[in-house]
């Protein structure tokens, strides 16, 4: 989708956006971040040489990175010629009516709250307010410069704003332990979302994910308890998970409109069957007990170590999976065909892409990734529980949607989902940090999805579709 590598668009390893404004924007962003880090460095009392060295390196890497991202999402065609660009105040008003109104409303609300609630008058809230206004400006003005990935950009900005706001309001938000915790939970959700993203790209849905997660969770522990070597049990569970995904795909192929219900029914059956199997000969009625091997605990526990580094291997695993999926979707024939099928079933079939094959493969991957999540969650919790996946029923969907992958298929990607997952996890960490309970988090998640999707996922008017 984003074969934006025009001539001169990408000069070797040095990426230069075509638009002047973007270069200045990136430069400014880099400068601001560098200045902040410069100040922070001195404030922490690190020696001046180190601070300068790190700042320079940071600025260079950041500038390179932002430019790269910009190039990827930059409009391929020439900028749209402004139709009858009216000048003067009238023109500004006509072009930005919605933006100006929204910003004014937010300003009024902010002033009202500030005037009435004394405890609201803090620096953090002011910064949060300014950031929100900036997001609005960005969403309405800057993101128009990108043909693709507007959602990813909005997601990134929201993520950035969330991190900044949380680090101001919550003590120890940027501590290593907290970041590690956020990333670990993001990794669980992210791995569970791999399949959901692929399936959504084809225009389907997989609601069996939470049940497969729960089933593989207790299934693995049960197998280990039986005395099967843990590695063999893990392989077995993963294969079964992939097999169930395959079954989902085959059964739902002819019932694509009803995939939602069919996968749900499969999920119920799987969860029921696994619970029956694990409770045969057991007096605990569905509860599975056993000891999780050390290496599996290390794999997913908070204090896990990867080659001596104090990072749980699950996070690295997620990074590897993410890279493989993103690169695979973008560059491999498999990935391109998935987009082709999601975009237009009929024409993809005409060029000889087997719909059945890709549909079942997507579901197989979904089953596999769900089973993997279940196994990792076993390592994290240390005990089997069928309900461990329940929260993933709609969270995987929410992450995919917030990231910007269309549920109708053909548009999006795993990279977007990663952003969606991070937004969800950071937001939930923020909400927990400021002391909100689970129900309020849920409420805010719900309210967040709609405006975010509304910023980039609007369908054209029916007039334009006739």
């Amino acid at each position: 989708m984003s074969q934006t590598v025009g001539e001169g668009g990408r000069g070797g390893a040095l990426f230069i956006p075509r638009s002047r404004a973007m270069i200045w924007f990136n430069l400014a962003a880099t400068f601001v971040v560098a200045a902040i880090s410069f100040g922070l460095g001195f404030w922490q009392g690190i020696s001046a040489q180190m601070v300068i060295l790190y700042t320079v390196v940071l600025a260079a890497v950041l500038f390179w990175l932002i430019n790269y991202v910009t190039i990827i999402f930059e409009t391929r065609s020439q900028p749209l010629e402004d139709t009858a660009a009216a000048s003067g105040a009238d023109g500004v008003w006509a072009g930005n009516r919605v933006l100006i109104t929204t910003m004014a409303v937010m300003l009024i609300v902010y002033l009202l709250i500030t005037a009435t609630v004394p405890s609201f008058r803090t620096l953090g809230n002011l910064i949060a307010f300014l950031l929100l206004e900036a997001i609005l400006v960005f969403a309405f003005k800057v993101s128009n410069r990108f043909a693709h990935g507007r959602s990813a950009f909005i997601g990134l900005i929201v993520l950035l704003a969330l991190v900044v706001i949380s680090s101001f309001t919550i003590n120890g938000f940027l501590s290593a332990a907290n970041i590690k915790a956020i990333l670990l939970f993001a990794a669980f959700l992210g791995i569970a979302c791999v399949g959901q993203t692929l399936v959504a790209l084809l225009g389907g849905l997989d609601l069996s994910i939470p049940f497969v997660i729960g089933s593989s969770n207790i299934g693995l522990l049960f197998l280990i308890g039986l005395g099967v070597p843990p590695w063999l049990a893990l392989v077995f569970v993963l294969v079964i998970g992939a097999g169930l995904g395959f079954l989902n795909g085959v059964l739902s192929y002819r019932l694509q409109g009803q995939a939602l219900i069919l996968t749900l029914g499969m999920g119920f059956s799987i969860a029921g069957l696994v619970q029956i199997l694990t409770s045969i000969g057991s007096s605990f009625g569905g509860n599975v007990f056993g000891t999780v091997p050390k290496w599996l605990q290390n794999l997913a526990a908070m204090n896990g170590r990867t080659f001596g580094l104090a990072i749980p291997p699950t996070i690295l695993l997620w990074v590897v999976i993410a890279v493989i999926v993103i690169v695979g979707l973008r560059y491999s024939a498999f990935g391109r065909y998935i987009y082709a099928l999601g975009g237009n079933r009929h024409s993809a079939k005409l060029i000889g892409v087997s719909e059945f094959k890709y549909w079942t493969i997507a579901y197989t991957i979904s089953g596999f990734s769900a089973a993997l999540t279940g196994c990792l969650l076993l390592g994290w919790s240390g005990g089997g529980f069928i309900g461990v996946g329940d929260q993933y029923l709609f969270t995987t969907l929410a992450a995919v949607v917030i990231g910007g992958t269309s549920l109708m298929g053909g548009y999006g990607g795993y990279g977007y989902t990663v952003i969606g997952v991070l937004v969800l996890q950071v937001l939930s960490a923020f909400l927990i940090g400021i002391g909100l309970k689970y129900e309020w988090q849920q409420f805010i998640f719900g309210l967040l999805i709609l405006p975010m999707v509304a910023l980039y996922g609007r369908a054209p008017h029916i007039r334009a579709q006739v």
């Binding site: 009803q258 939602l260 219900i261 029921g272 619970q275 509304a454 054209p460 029916i462 006739v466």
Partner: protein, 459 residues
Amino acid sequence: MVMSQSRGSQNTYLLVPILLIALLLSTAVIRGPNLVSLSGFGSAIIVSAPLILATFSLMALAVAGRGTVDLAVGPLLAFINVTIVKLNGLGIVTGPFGVILVALGIGVLYQLFFALIIIFVRVQPIIVALSGFLALTGINLVILPRPGGTAPDWMSSWGLGNTIFSPILLIVLLAIAAWLLFTMTSFYANLRLMGYDERAAYTSGVRINVVRIGAHVIAGLFVGLGAICYTALIASGDPTQGTTMTLTAVTALVLGGVSLSGGRGGVAGGLLGALNLFLIGYVLATFNFGSTQAFVTQLFYGLILVLSLLLTLLVPVVGRYLYFISPFAAFVVLGCVVVGIMLHISTRDTYGVAVAGEALKADPDLLTRYLLLPVPQSGAGSALPDLTPLQKIVFGFAAILAVLTFTVRVMVAEAVSVRLGAFIYVFVSALILLLFLVVGEQSHATAIPAAGHSMEVAP
């Protein structure tokens, strides 16, 4: 007949739900005969009423097209439920009029908001639904952190389920009647056209925005009614059942053959789907699997779901060769079988005891038994005029012949007709009403004689 083949019946999608309900109902009656009694039917109606109405709400939206599956239907129902209970607890709204107004008002307002977002923000409906699902699930727990509270006093007798003709049944019947009346309007035709092909509707001058808002308002009314039934059922507030209710309602929708892609569906499908789902639970509850009961239930629930979905794939194939199989035909044939089984089971006690007790006396022949005539008591005169066996056979055959001729004629007419006629609804309601009356009569009748009889047998 050639012409009829090309037209066919549009309601073949009802075949699978009808088949399923016949199977389930017979199993349910055989496994758990308690169903066929005044309290059995009463509690069945009350337990399934919220689900039925929630399914209707989903059905109205599904017909409107654009893949509208309102995932938030469960949380919305729970939201109205906890709001009623909370307002009742605070003493603000306690009267019947106020409660009904609040319930319907919230449902309609939410759905109106939903429709306006779809129309003006132009986001996919499923995303709006997802958003509403999460938000409402959260806010429900804020309003009522855990199940509790009490429903308004006047509602307390509704949820007992010891009688068939309860206000709950009235609500469900009203909802069904309202939808059937609605299908006669041109607004309904516009709605189906829009669901089937929105662009065609737009270009042919249908005001699609108005139609969409109308569909959502209807859905909101259904949810409001469902919430009232739910509150009566549990007699308290429960903020936690939203997800379950959504999943079961969506399942019922699909089991009823309503197309999620729009344009197809009706109150018959929704009703059958919801009843099927209730019966699945009922049948599974009659089996005893010990400690794995819950898991087996879950397993079969899922399997039936998958199988019935796969069966819908066969409907077009079957319909091509057996075009005269209309839902009506299936319904009549299967309905007779099932009603027969139900009567057999429900009358077994009365007549069975009679046979055992008075073995030498006139053993009640089939005619007496199935026409539900009073058991000829010793001494008392028989209700039937004294007929010779030959006369009985002749009259019996004549009656059966008349019924068969009539049925076949209607079946053929029905297979050719495009939509389910009003006749089938009248017929079915009459049949069901009759059954209820009979069962009610039986329950009243058996209460006293059974007691008397046991005393008699004891010594």
